[in-house]
């Protein structure tokens, strides 16, 4: 299980998926390509390259040897990011960013309560002020107007 084989394999699967999805769209001809013409060509190219990568992949590093130690941290950060995407328009910018920063600093990085709160409040407040109020960037407000 080398990295090249895994990577190449994933790409091959993706190529097959897009080929499958493209069948709903008209293909057209060489003279008059339809909406799925170029995607099909690209999928075939991806398929080809993926297979080449698998074929040449015997000598590359093993999957485990690359080191996945950070995966827990990464999952936490990704989770926080997903939360931000969900909450941004529902809770408004300041609340979302405050919650996200509080989570990352307080829970994930285990900084003290004071550091976390000060940083989270300062960042969410100041960034909103600078970009939304001064520069008039449209940032969402919470349903309570805040």
């Amino acid at each position: 299980m080398t990295i090249d084989r895994v990577g190449g394999g994933a790409l091959v699967l993706l190529a097959l998926f897009t080929l499958w999805e493209s069948r709903k769209l008209p293909l057209g001809t060489l003279q008059n390509p339809g909406p799925s013409y170029v995607p099909v060509i690209l999928s075939l190219l991806l398929l080809g390259f993926g297979l080449v990568v698998i074929a040449m992949g015997r000598g590359s590093d093993g999957v485990a040897s690359v080191g996945w130690g950070e995966w827990r941290h990464a999952i936490a950060i990704l989770g926080c990011l997903a939360f931000m995407a969900l909450a941004l328009e529902r809770l408004g910018y300041r609340i979302t960013i405050f919650a996200a920063l509080a989570f990352l600093l307080g829970v994930v990085e285990r900084r003290g309560v004071v550091t976390t709160t000060v940083f989270a409040v300062a960042f969410s407040g100041l960034s909103f002020y600078l970009f939304a109020t001064v520069l008039r960037v449209q940032l969402p407000r919470s349903p309570w107007g805040f």
Binding site: P26, L27, T29, P33, G34, P35
Partner: protein, 326 residues
């Protein structure tokens, strides 16, 4: 007894006063007007001056926000499903009628439907004009049509995108005159004009504002207009109606809309405000500088115009059908 009576009186008073309480004065919060196109487009050129004028009339902050995507569908959909409280409005172009038809054509659930909106007012209604380069051999629209009949599918024209306003305008002409032209879509109004200037296509249906500078500089020649009347800025240009093709009528119009369920008093206030706004001297000034005439219609007038336009476009889209990819 007296206590009960007092309570009853209090209740009656409250009940009478409640509607007044519940109905906070409109507007009391900033109003957002959505322009569903990238910044710098036609919606902006009309929308921004209008928003500035509305702010003055309503004495309340009004802001224009660009929400672009999918040829306008994203922004239009966002207003269609927004809270109908009068604080989210839409400045839309004639493509508002085209997109649901195109969705129907492809069998997709429509991003929105036209009856999800309540029209407030029509602001501008520029007819499109047919332009060619000055080096091209056609001096009148008739010559172009004759040539197209002799060589079907040979004359190239560009547009801002497939099923877009510029495409539909040319299609209406083709259907009315019984000719076949070849369509080379570009990705927007600007690139469409560039393609014509560079000689890569030979004709274009365009809004007058975009091509007026080039006409004045002698690079482009305008052959005819799609309006019911001649354009003020181009008085020598005949209309297709005069030339015998009355079905070739098309306007790139811009109008202000609100979600359908907006309460009637709010809509009435907005309609009044817009009526005043378009008469503001600053608004008139900016529009005059852009050489875009203000065509203001409201109520029944607008509804009739809108319905007729929507019918024409729906018919046009249906006749274009799906682009052939044998």
């Amino acid at each position: 007894m007296t206590v009960l009576r007092m309570l009853l009186v209090a209740l009656v008073v409250l009940a009478a006063g409640a509607p007044a309480l519940a109905q906070e004065a409109y507007p009391s919060r900033p109003i957002t007007v959505v322009a569903p196109f990238p910044p710098g487009g036609i919606a902006d050129l009309t929308g921004r001056p209008l928003v500035a004028a509305l702010e003055k009339v309503l004495k309340n902050p009004v802001a224009l926000v660009n929400r672009q995507g999918a040829a306008g569908a994203v922004g239009m959909q966002s207003v269609a499903v927004s809270k109908p409280d009068g604080y989210t409005l839409l400045v839309a172009l004639s493509s508002i009628s085209i997109i649901p038809e195109a969705d129907k054509l492809f069998g997709r659930p429509p991003a929105y439907t036209v009856d999800q909106f309540a029209p407030i007012a029509l602001l501008t209604a520029d007819p499109t004009v047919l332009v060619v380069r000055t080096e091209s051999p056609w001096k009148t629209a008739k010559e172009l049509v004759e040539d197209a009949k002799k060589r079907p599918n040979q004359i190239l024209y560009s547009s801002s995108g497939v099923y877009g306003t510029l495409h539909m305008a040319m299609e209406l002409l083709s259907q009315a005159a019984g000719i076949k032209l070849r369509h080379v879509p570009a990705s927007g109004g600007g690139p469409a004009v560039t393609a014509l200037l560079g000689g890569h296509v030979e004709a274009l249906a365009s809004g007058p504002a975009a091509v007026l500078p080039h006409i004045k500089a002698g690079k482009l020649r305008v052959l005819a207009g799609w309006g019911a009347e001649r354009i003020a800025a181009l008085p020598d240009v005949p209309t297709f109606r005069e030339l015998g093709y009355p079905e070739a009528e098309f306007y790139i119009w811009s109008g202000l809309f609100a979600p359908k369920a907006t309460p009637a008093p709010v809509l009435a206030k907005l309609r009044d405000a817009v009526k005043q706004a378009v008469n503001e001297p600053e608004f008139k000034d900016v529009m005059a500088k852009q050489e875009t005439p203000i065509t203001f219609k409201q109520g029944e007038d607008f509804q009739k115009f809108f319905d007729a336009d929507a019918r024409r476009l729906a018919e046009g889209v249906r006749r274009v059908g799906k682009i052939e990819t044998k």
